[in-house]
């Protein structure tokens, strides 16, 4: 029924109409050229660390009890040492291998430590001289990056687990 109806209404004298797509192609070409020239295929990020320095600030007259967290990075193992600044110091020491699994376990131990001491935000890192820079960055990631932060949600800073890292080995 409907087909018959449609056929009846087809006009007989419509000229051939062609869409002019040349401007569209021009725009696409220009956009492509601009994007290809300005594209950066390596996304660059930053990790902030500090070195120890001498300060002439007067020390706290009433020191508070806080947790000292030290990380020793060797070629094959990572040692996490903790101690409170005021007695009882409750010293602990845990070793992890420097394999990806070991670094993941080290990261979980730091998360656990953060849950128990949420106010502490500083880690002092000591490294052996033969440790490669990329291994050190893996350890820094494990110390600083909070995996629970959803980075797909426009988060610009996920360095929130232990944001302050002091390179303890860099001393004269």
């Amino acid at each position: 029924m409907s087909r018959k109806k449609n056929k009846r209404h087809v006009p007989q004298d419509i000229p051939d109409v062609e869409l002019n797509i040349m401007p569209f192609i021009d725009i696409f070409s220009l956009l492509n050229t601009f994007l290809l020239f300005t594209a950066t295929f390596v996304s660059i990020g930053l990790l902030r660390v500090q070195v120890p320095f001498l300060s002439n600030a007067t020390p706290d007259s009433k020191p508070t009890r806080s947790l000292d967290i030290n990380v020793d990075v060797g070629r094959d193992q990572i040692v996490l040492r903790t101690a409170y600044t005021i007695a009882p110091t409750d010293k602990t020491s845990n070793s992890f291998s420097s394999s990806p699994d070991g670094i993941a376990a080290f990261h979980r131990a730091l998360i656990d430590l953060k849950h128990r001491n949420p106010r502490d935000d500083k880690v002092t890192l000591y490294s052996d001289e033969d440790v490669s820079y990329h291994k050190l960055v893996e350890v820094l990631d494990a110390i600083k990056i909070d995996d629970s932060i959803d980075t797909s949600d426009g988060v610009t800073d996920n360095n929130k687990l232990y944001p302050k890292v002091v390179m303890g080995s860099v001393l004269l």
């Binding site: 797509i21 696409f28 594209a39 990790l47 660390v49 070195v51 988060v155 610009t156």
Partner: protein, 165 residues
Amino acid sequence: MAVSGGASTETISLPITPMLDIFSILVTFLLMSYSSDPISHDPNPALELPDSKTTVSLDEVPAVVVSKNEVLVNDKKVVTVIGGTVEKRHTTQGAIYPLFQELVKLNTTNKNYADASAKSGGDKVSTLTLEMDKNHRFELMKMIMLSAQQAKFVTFKLVVSKEKS
């Protein structure tokens, strides 16, 4: 060929739909991967950056670049790196002396700029952005950090390659 004969009036139309398809896909891909980082910086071709999960973006061009073979301060070669370390004659007290001299000049320039522009400049003056090859050992990194520490730089921004999540 038929057209070149001259007699035929047959029109040949080039199918541009596949080309449009390619263009659309390419534009979509480029727009999706377009970086909106505040600074666009191409790493030195003579080095490979370590991968990191950080989301913090680069905010200034690295001042110190440590490639596989040399140490550069603002693109000026300061010292040669041989076998992952610096020749003994360039080192004093664990630091690299020519690098220390360049960093003192850089810190003075930064400080003068901060004073002239009446900004606090505290962060800029004491912060150094470091781009380094991922295969170097901590031995070299320590020498560079010691040189910078003596030139009054206490905070370092380590340049890394962001891992794609």
